[in-house]
């Protein structure tokens, strides 16, 4: 049939047998390979297989709550869900995007920009498309588990601040751990962990944060969780109890509404902070969920610096409150007799320069100088004491250095001295500067908390308490700077007079019935007269009032600062409200909501008449007379007019 040999029987038996042997050899070779993997190295590969399929998912421990001194919750945590978009499979993601948009109410641009932002991260890392899911969102995700396979839920712990802005500056806020913190944590933190970033949240982060738990799950090759192996429950963070009294805090917050400044109320025996307000402020709830970059930028660049805790970080001239330091220095140094008097004609000339007083006080002794806040009296006292003595007593009374309060970022303020000027400005101290310093101007810078502490020290005979916010901190830290009883009497009687005597610098309304309410006003310029003149505008002065009760060995001290208040006397009612709330509470009186604020209580008649008289003496210094309550008639900076011949 065919041209080729069909019946060729020459089958190469030998070669076929050789082929068989070769086959056997190959199978043996392969089995040796399997033996090596499956028997010799089996343990190694078993480990790898186990690691492959098992993932550890952290269970976030809730942060500890913050309570006020009576156990009322000020800060809390609650569990919430974030919605994750799994983007292992780009096609699937694109396919379900429209459904996700409508189901979760997220705009297409928003989703796309989030995906775009996560482009550089590994694909198996899901994107959080909704940090805080509503109940409707949760229902949507749960009911579409099978038909939208790219969504997942993650439980997180959110910080909750039920009173929003209340106490915000002291509480601080939380945020994602920074690269730097991550590096310094020795592996304790993982990226994305939430830590305290400012205020008490930062200070007591170690107590507040718990230990995260761990859920070990079996995942498949695309990372989908198949089942749970075991759970290690998280250890919740410990709650901390603060010294803050919610009732006092509320009163102070209400009084500071819409103002710029700070209030600190302190237990004068222990240093326990009862209230701390800084305005303007922020709402820490905005930080609890990822803060949008635009808002963060706004908070950081806002000229009113809402992130600043003014109670411990505002370093400003104290104005006439500083006269308490002067009076103490005058009496304690014994450089000047306690009976020293000065005639105040409304101004005085030192080193060829005219320094103003806001009123012609006539014959003035120490008591009247404190009560009516006579600048001329203290100009003379300052000249006689000299900057070194002033500086010594100011420092001894806690000004110019940290109080040691348990908050991060406290500022030290500044008390000028001869050495300081030589170190910083490389010139000799100008004697004229001493005159400015004498009334709390010039280079003097203090924080509200320092003033509260200084007044406490003077009124308690020299107890410099360390302010603190943590209630558990039972040991009271007091630095002693003994002040003689005679000095305490004289100075505190002056401060009693400020509030309670007819020619005191505060309004009649500030007086509190049945309470020995005392204090000192201060009105500090924020700009030199020369500068004001050049700019052709007037920046309103900062108003201070530090009040306390009772007159001697006080229970409570409250320092208040209102920037741009114009008069220290405007600030006094805030302090009065807080002291009254404290007193009422102590006596079991439920205090009515504070309605009288600094703004709607009228300044004293004295002030009005002074303003009316302001235009009179003319010249460049005419503006200097717009003041009251011991406002200084002189510049606040070294570089300004004080050096003029």
């Amino acid at each position: 049939m065919s041209s080729w040999n069909v019946n060729d029987q020459r089958v190469p038996q030998g070669r076929l047998t050789l082929f068989s042997y070769l086959s056997v050899a190959f199978v043996i070779l392969l089995l040796v390979g399997f033996w090596k993997l499956q028997v010799v190295q089996s343990g190694h590969y078993s480990d790898l297989a186990e690691k492959n399929g098992i993932r550890s998912i952290p269970i976030i421990a809730p942060r500890g709550a913050m309570l006020d001194r009576e156990g009322r919750v000020l800060v809390d945590s609650y569990p919430s869900f974030s919605i994750l978009l799994l983007r292992d499979n780009r096609k699937l993601v694109q396919k379900y995007l429209p459904e996700i948009e409508s189901g979760l109410g997220i705009s297409a641009e928003d989703l796309n920009s989030q995906l775009e932002a996560a482009k550089t991260e590994p694909r198996f890392m899901p994107v959080i498309i909704k940090p805080e899911a509503s109940e409707a969102d949760l229902a949507f995700v749960e009911s579409h588990r099978s038909d939208i396979p790219v969504l997942d839920l993650m439980m997180v712990q959110r910080r909750h601040y039920p009173y929003g802005e209340m106490l915000a500056s002291a509480i601080g806020y939380v945020g994602e751990v920074s690269a730097q913190e991550l590096e310094q944590s020795d592996g304790r933190y993982a990226p994305g962990d939430i830590v305290g970033k400012a205020g008490l949240e930062k200070e007591y982060n170690g107590q507040l944060e718990g230990t995260d738990g761990m859920r070990r799950v079996v995942v498949n090759s695309v990372g989908k969780v198949m089942r749970t192996l075991d759970n290690v429950q998280p250890i919740p963070g410990k709650p901390i109890q603060l010294t803050i009294d919610y009732d006092l805090q509320k009163v102070a917050e209400q009084d500071m509404e819409g103002k710029e400044g700070a209030v600190v109320a302190m237990d004068a025996h222990t240093g326990a902070i009862l209230a701390m307000v800084s305005r303007p402020t922020f709402n820490p709830n905005d930080f609890a969920v990822r803060i949008p970059p635009r808002e963060w930028k706004q908070l950081n660049t806002d000229p009113e610096t809402p992130l600043l805790n003014r109670a411990i970080q505002a370093q400003l001239a104290p104005g006439s409150v500083f006269k308490i330091v002067m009076a103490t220095a005058m009496l304690e140094s014994k450089a000047i007799p306690p009976t020293y008097t000065v005639y105040c004609p409304g101004q005085a000339t030192f080193y060829g320069r005219v320094f103003h007083c806001d009123h012609a006080h006539g014959e003035v002794d120490l008591h009247k100088a404190i009560v009516a806040s006579c600048d001329v009296y203290f100009y003379h006292v300052g000249q006689m004491l000299g900057i070194d003595r002033i500086s010594y007593f100011a420092n001894a009374l806690g000004l110019g250095h940290l109080t040691g309060i348990d908050l991060p970022g406290e500022e030290p303020g500044l008390i000028p001295s001869e050495q300081w000027v030589e170190r910083v400005y490389h010139h000799k101290w100008y004697p004229g500067s001493t005159i400015s310093v004498s009334i709390g101007q010039g280079s003097v810078m203090v924080t509200p908390i320092q003033l509260a502490r200084m007044i406490t020290a003077v009124a308690s005979g020299g107890n410099l308490v360390q302010p603190h916010l943590l209630k558990d901190d039972t040991d009271v830290k007091i630095t002693r700077f003994p002040i003689s009883q005679n000095t305490v009497d004289q100075v505190t009687q002056g401060m009693w007079g400020v509030v309670n005597e007819p020619d005191g610098t505060t309004s009649e309304l500030v007086k509190l019935k049945d309470i020995d309410f005392c204090g000192k006003t201060g009105t500090a310029q924020t700009m030199s007269y020369d500068l004001e003149h050049r700019l052709g505008k007037h920046i309103k002065e900062n108003g201070w009032f530090v009040g306390y009760e009772p007159r001697e060995n006080p229970d409570i001290v409250v320092a208040a600062l209102v920037q741009g208040a114009g008069w220290g006397s405007f600030v006094a009612p805030i302090v009065r409200d807080v002291v009254k709330a404290y007193y009422d509470k102590k006596n079991g009186v439920i205090s009515p909501p504070a309605t009288s604020t600094a703004e709607n209580s009228a300044p004293s008649g004295v002030s009005h008449s002074l303003v009316a008289a302001a235009g009179a003496p003319g010249a460049s210094a005419s503006a200097a007379l717009r003041s009251t309550g011991g406002r200084a008639g002189v510049v606040n900076a070294e570089a300004a007019g004080a050096q003029r011949p």
């Binding site: 049939m1 040999n5 082929f19 056997v24 392969l30 590969y45 090759s221």
Partner: protein
């Protein structure tokens, strides 16, 4: 003279081995896919086995001499088919291997080419009268083989293209090769390796990557090296006794790549252990030895060459696939005969076995 097949000469032992291997495949496919969206794949596989068996009987009925008579025509049809695939074939899995047949069955022409090359080379070697092949013979065999190899490489399908080569090599070995030619061959290969190495840039990127991955698997833990690594982890973690049917974490959680197809032996090794691998490889060895036995008992050289062509293809596939699973060879996409899931692959094996039965059933016929 008509060669009449005898039913009692049907190779029941071979069929039993094939049945056993197929059953192992069905069970492992079930284990790999039962939990997911691919559940039920074993029934499709079973269907293909049924179709394959029918095809096997069909092929066994046509006298292989008739097929050998048609060898030149079959070769031309096969080459034409490959060209059609290249020109018209639609892309699937990134390769133009398929042509649509009535929109129902996707036929892989290159699988059919494997059958055709077995027949064509058997015909050629039978025609050789001398005791040893001449250089001209070698050149002709080379040309006959390399044309379809080149066309399949162009698709591109390295795996299938490679499978054609052992048919020629085994044939040359059996037909007898002169020592000096063997020596020249060795020298040429030794020279070609560095040239091929320099030519590697002309390979498709994915082929380059496969070679790179084979040489340095640790370079890319998420890419192709990842597949080999995961396969090795599956095999190694199986241990001596295996993790049990349906209990291999690598397999069940999807870490083993294409676990129901190319890497099915890794899945099996994980769940059935070294013992299971021994069982499967011994089944294959039995199959190969039985095929060689059939070749030895073939009525004529033509039948012997056909059986050994089939043996060469199956043996090569088992060797390359198994070696790949344990990282001894790069990933080439060669399935494990009868066990890997896949219609084309199953159909080819049964049609090829049909040729073997064809030869067997006619061994006593005159």
């Amino acid at each position: 003279m008509k060669n009449r097949a005898r039913l009692q000469d049907f190779d029941w032992v071979l069929l039993a081995l094939v049945g056993a291997i197929s059953l192992v495949g069905l069970l492992e496919i079930y284990s790999c896919t039962h939990a997911g969206s691919l559940a039920g794949m074993q029934w499709k596989q079973l269907m293909w086995i049924g179709i394959g068996m029918a095809g096997m009987c069909l092929i066994a009925m046509i006298d292989y001499h008739t097929l050998l008579d048609q060898a030149p025509a079959l070769y031309i049809v096969g080459i034409a088919g490959l060209l059609v695939v290249l020109v018209l074939g639609f892309s699937r899995l990134g390769a133009k291997r398929w042509i649509s047949l009535g929109g129902v069955v996707n036929l892989q022409v290159s699988e059919i080419m494997k059958l055709i090359i077995i027949i064509v080379l058997a015909r050629y070697f039978t025609d050789v009268r001398s005791e040893r092949l001449t250089l001209t013979d070698l050149a002709k065999v080379g040309a006959l083989t390399l044309v379809p190899v080149g066309l399949i490489l162009k698709q591109p399908d390295l795996g299938t293209a490679m499978v054609l080569v052992p048919v020629a090599l085994v044939g040359i070995f059996l037909a007898g090769v002169q020592w000096k030619h063997m020596a020249i061959g060795v020298v040429v290969i030794a020279l070609l390796v560095p040239i091929a190495w320099n030519m590697r840039h002309h390979l498709k990127p994915y082929q380059q990557q496969r070679i790179q991955t084979f040489l340095h698997p640790e370079d890319n833990p998420r890419g192709a090296g990842y597949q080999i690594l995961q396969s090795e982890i599956a095999v190694g973690s199986g241990g001596f006794w295996g993790k049990g049917f349906g209990k291999g974490s690598q397999n069940q959680l999807g870490f083993v790549p294409v676990r129901y197809s190319d890497f099915i032996l890794a899945a099996l090794a994980e769940e059935q252990g070294f013992i299971g691998v021994c069982f499967v490889l011994l089944l294959y060895l039995g199959l190969i030895l039985r095929l060689v036995d059939n070749a030895q008992k073939a009525k004529d050289r033509a039948g012997m060459y056909i059986v050994m062509g089939v043996t060469a293809v199956l043996g090569f596939q088992v060797l390359v696939n198994t070696a790949m699973v344990i990282g001894y060879m790069p990933v080439t996409g060669i399935p494990l005969p009868l066990i890997s899931y896949g219609g084309s692959s199953i159909a080819f094996v049964f049609l090829a076995l049909g040729l073997v039965m064809n030869v067997r059933m006619r061994r006593f016929v005159n």
